[in-house]
């Protein structure tokens, strides 16, 4: 803190890096004033004390939070017992949220780059200057190159609605989410098979759970992780497929260290056993499954003996698990997975999962453990401010959807392809990139290539709470308030409306995304698309159709609509062309792909090479939380996992520095010699190896697997194959 006082006098020119690293804060952290809105609503006393309900944003699960405020400062966050996702609990990340707000590396003012990109030389700007500059650059790009030359990307946050509004109003078709690095294969497969993006899971009735790499104990979704552990505690059987002995594997009755890339062989053989032995729910199947009669023939070749040659799992084990799974009938659950971007055949893994659930008839009530309904909104429809229709864009999307990837949903996109188009200039050159709370510099495969692509752009603007890696390479950085300092658009869950609301005043000059997008909209001549006077006005317009009063919503943190939506029909139907579960998909056939779930041989490492696996740790979220000091304090040191026997054979010692080399890059990282991984695999947790010197906690900590990942895209779902990169290791 003491060095900041000296730095604040250097208002106009700040070198962020080296000896003056402290400059990122720009000015001293002003003690937060009492959140005016909260006080007006009686949530805070005059002294600034209170308990305010809001919604977490440390991951995308959006748990309900009760924020304890003392003297205008958040001192503790707890799970809201009334929220279905928190049930009174928060994970490590949720508990650490106040440290994100009070991070010493918060960006407190708009910043404009003055040195070269990535050099860390920025100057402080006023909001007017930064917004004017951003708008003028965006207008110039649209005028000179067309709106399509401006790329927009943001991922899975509550303000996404207004982000999409901005890009659609501006007129660009180029929308980059990070979904192709995550769940494209799962969503695309379930859309094609069930007609829904992501089926719900019922753990209340489950007796048999098959998790295919779904590491719920470390990729934590509070209520679902809780439900899984409760089910296991109750005696449900858990079978877990993963090349690593994760914390989820430790809770499983059976851990199967399957060969990477062969999950679909295991699942296809399970389907083979169930349909040839007629163990499934035949009545359900005939009525609701398209392709039911031909399924045994289509699966004939996928015998357990065949699967053993692919997976390394004994045929008898596969057969037994298939029989056990089928015996559990509706009380069986094969989890659809989440980040399923592993191999180019991961789409087939997901198709097989969708089929496996369908053949045992668990996909509908009562007691069905996979819910072919979207659990999210629960029928609540929120309003929106009036606005004109969007301009039509006839430009091709840079990410190849749909002209190269006909089956990838527009809202998912193919992010890595978008990055490649920025670099190659094909089919046209992108000029600008508008990024909101996303970290593509760290998340996209092949970081060197991403940095090259950035070099082709005229203008990059990034909205973030801290100086994340992408902000570090941006031309303008707009500071967003943290989630406990701002309103975001309301959302509905399980038939209720929930609110994220400011609990404390924003640090520095940080502002909400709702405000930033509106300010930019006005400067871009798009004010008609942003018809709200402030955040609360936006929320009131959202609430209009529900009859809910904003003040009471703020008080309780949630409310049920007074105007009840009509009860959904009890009739079972699926939103697919045939109205059935499309185990056989005419859509896939027409696009030139196999209409059946099918085996696609994945590539395998050469002798001397290893599979490089990626995944999560329970203390961090993707590429965003590594600078949080609480999480840093309680995480395990990020290291490269190697099987201890292999390490010994190679003369490598636990804790030593090793060099990992892939076709596109190399990193040096400490070794973890452990029995908890297959001998042919290595593992690095994602999200480490930050380059931004504006992150004093995360900078240079661990290595980034994005430096190593080769870009491989699944032609059907557009998913990036994150486990398909093969690497070598040597002592550094």
């Amino acid at each position: 803190m003491t060095d900041r006082a000296a730095i604040t006098s250097r208002r106009d020119f700040l070198k962020l890096g080296g000896a003056t690293l402290g400059a990122i804060g720009l000015s001293t952290m002003v003690p937060p004033k009492v959140a005016q809105a909260a006080r007006r609503n009686g949530l805070l006393t005059a002294a600034g004390d209170g308990l305010i309900p809001t919604v977490c944003e440390m991951c995308v699960w959006r748990c309900g939070v009760l924020a304890r405020v003392e003297g205008g400062r958040v001192v503790k966050l707890e799970g809201n017992p009334d929220h279905p996702h928190s049930q009174g609990k928060l994970c490590a990340r949720g508990q650490s949220g106040l440290m994100t707000t009070y991070d010493r590396d918060r960006v407190l003012h708009p910043m404009i780059r003055v040195g070269e990109r990535g050099g860390g030389l920025f100057r402080q700007a006023t909001w007017d200057e930064a917004l004017d500059l951003t708008a003028s650059k965006m207008l110039a790009i649209r005028q000179n190159y067309g709106a399509e030359a401006m790329v927009f990307s943001s991922t899975h946050n509550l303000s996404q609605l207004q982000f999409e509004n901005l890009l659609n109003a501006y007129g660009s078709p180029n929308y980059g989410t990070q979904r192709s690095l995550c769940f494209n294969s799962m969503v695309t497969a379930f859309l094609l098979t069930y007609g829904i993006e992501e089926p719900g899971r019922n753990y209340d009735d489950v007796e048999y759970i098959l998790l295919v790499g779904r590491n719920l104990a470390e990729a934590v979704s509070t209520s679902e992780t809780r439900a899984l552990i409760q089910a296991v505690d109750r005696g449900a059987k858990l079978v877990y497929l993963d090349p690593r002995f994760t914390k989820t594997a430790a809770k499983a009755n059976e851990w199967i260290p399957i060969r990477p890339g062969t999950d679909s062989a295991f699942l296809l053989a399970m389907i083979h056993v169930i349909v040839t032995e007629e163990l499934g729910d035949c009545d359900f199947a005939r009525q609701y499954i398209a392709g039911c009669d031909d399924l045994p023939a289509a699966m004939a070749q996928y015998t357990p003996a065949w699967a053993e040659t692919k997976t390394g799992v004994p045929a008898a084990t596969i057969q037994r698990i298939a029989r056990e799974f089928a015996a559990a009938k509706r009380r069986a659950l094969a989890h659809p997975g989440w980040r399923t971007s592993n191999f180019v055949n991961s789409f087939q893994t997901e198709r097989a999962l969708a089929t496996l659930n369908a053949v045992v008839g668990n996909v509908f009530e009562p007691n069905g453990c996979l819910l072919a309904t979207n659990p999210e909104a629960g029928g609540v429809e929120l309003g929106a401010p009036p606005q004109p229709s969007y301009p039509r864009s006839s430009a091709m999307r840079l990410d190849g959807v749909p002209w190269k990837y006909p089956l990838v949903p527009l809202k998912l996109g193919v992010f890595q392809e978008l990055r490649d188009a920025m670099l190659t200039g094909q089919p046209y050159q992108a000029r600008g990139w508008f990024i909101s709370r996303q970290n593509p510099v760290l998340s996209l495969p092949d970081r060197a290539r991403t940095l090259q692509a950035i070099g082709k752009l005229d203008f990059i603007v990034d909205i973030d709470v801290i100086m994340n890696d992408t902000a570090w390479y941006a031309d303008v950085v707009l500071p967003e308030s943290s989630y406990i300092e701002r309103y975001d658009p309301l959302y509905a869950l399980d038939g209720k409306v929930f609110i994220r609301q400011p609990v404390v005043e924003a640090q520095g000059e940080a502002r909400s995304a709702l405000w930033i997008y509106q300010q930019l909209g006005e400067r871009l001549g798009l004010a008609d698309y942003f018809q709200y006077s402030d955040e609360e006005d936006y929320l009131r317009q959202q609430l209009a159709p529900t009859g809910i009063d904003l003040a009471s919503l703020k008080q309780a943190g949630y409310a049920e609509p007074l105007v009840r939506p009509p009860e959904p029909s009890q009739e079972i139907s699926f939103n697919t062309p045939s109205g059935k579960i499309e185990v056989y998909s005419e859509t896939l056939a027409r696009a030139g792909f196999s209409p059946w779930p099918t085996w696609e041989e994945p590539p395998a490492p050469e002798p001397g090479q290893f599979y490089l696996l990626t995944g999560k740790v329970g203390q961090h979220t993707q590429f965003a939380t590594q600078n949080n000091q609480y999480l840093h304090k309680y995480e395990d040191e990020p290291r490269l996992w190697m099987n201890e026997t292999v390490a010994q054979e190679r003369g490598l010692k636990d804790g030593q520095l090793v060099r990992v080399t892939s076709p596109v890059g190399e990193v040096e990282v400490k070794l973890l010699a452990t029995p908890a991984i297959r001998p042919d695999c290595l593992f690095m947790a994602a999200g480490y190896g930050h380059r931004s010197k504006g992150l004093r906690t995360a900078f240079g900590h661990g290595g980034s697997d994005s430096d190593l990942h080769v870009t491989y895209t699944d032609p059907i779902s557009g998913g990036q194959a994150l486990s398909q990169t093969f690497v070598t290791v040597e002592s550094a």
Partner: protein
């Protein structure tokens, strides 16, 4: 229903996923410095030979003994066992001798070297979140535990719950409730699927350390007074002899007090 039983934690290692939410919650709730912690990870982690593996870890913090060794070892009464369970510390009384650290059979209290050397002596450890207990809330670690690996309640109820779980799932757990008897009983009870040493819990006899520490401490003051009496006696004898004896030059005066001192100690019986 009110109970005169102390509060106790029940930790079930089979439910813990090692997510560390309890650790972050503790740090935030108690404003624990970044370089310190009141809960730490304990246990072997992953053990066995690939692919036959198991995992053992637990969040380790103060056991809140029914008869706390730290309190009995403390010469100035800085430690107190509250009736409702927590073993608490009074920094104002502490003289920084760190006897408590040596006395604790679980290795829990630790010295804050940042503050302890230059500022004032400071021993830190889990307080069972007394500030929360006092307003009817469970400790922060318990409150946030999503898998309910931590439960919290009156000790007799927690023991009953632990027994019910052991009886309900034969073969799942090691047939023992750690803390029921260890060191005379603790307010942190643990049940587990792996042997307790795999969780890093020490083998502690049922007899509380206090039986020893209290015996020692009980003898300390008589011992000190005895020494004072003995030395006073020696001094008196010496002075008496010096007064009675011929001038010192004529005798080997160096030996006399030593002999008398040894006799005096023997007579005192210490």
């Amino acid at each position: 229903m009110a109970s005169d039983q102390p509060f106790a934690f029940l930790f079930d290692a089979t439910r813990c996923i090692d997510c560390r939410a309890c650790m972050v919650a503790c740090s935030a709730e108690n404003d624990v410095p970044m370089d310190d912690t009141r809960i730490w990870l304990s246990g072997d982690g992953v053990f066995g030979t690939y692919p036959d593996l198991e995992r053992a870890s637990m969040p380790y913090h103060c056991m809140h003994c029914l008869e706390p060794a730290c309190a009995s070892a403390c010469p100035v009464g800085a430690w107190t066992k509250r009736d409702d369970g927590p073993v608490v510390y009074d920094a104002a009384r502490c003289i920084g001798c760190r006897y408590c650290m040596n006395a604790c059979p679980f290795g829990v209290p630790h010295f804050d070297w940042n503050k302890g050397l230059l500022d004032e002596p400071l021993i830190t450890k889990c307080t069972m979140c007394t500030q929360r207990l006092d307003v009817g809330q469970p400790p922060a670690c318990v409150q946030t535990c999503m898998t309910e690996a931590f439960q919290f309640g009156r000790r007799d109820e927690m023991l009953a719950e632990a027994r019910a779980r052991l009886a309900g799932r034969p073969g799942k757990y090691v047939d023992h409730i750690y803390g029921e008897h260890e060191n005379g009983g603790t307010s942190y009870l643990v049940i587990s699927h792996v042997p307790f040493d795999k969780l890093g819990l020490p083998a502690v006899p049922a007899m509380p350390v206090n039986a020893t520490t209290e015996a020692v401490m009980a003898g300390t003051i008589p011992f000190a007074l005895g020494w004072a009496a003995a030395l006073t006696a020696v001094a008196g004898v010496v002075r008496f002899r010096q007064a009675r004896m011929t001038p010192p030059a004529e005798v080997d005066g160096q030996d006399l007090p030593v002999v008398e001192l040894a006799d005096a100690i023997q007579e005192d019986g210490q």
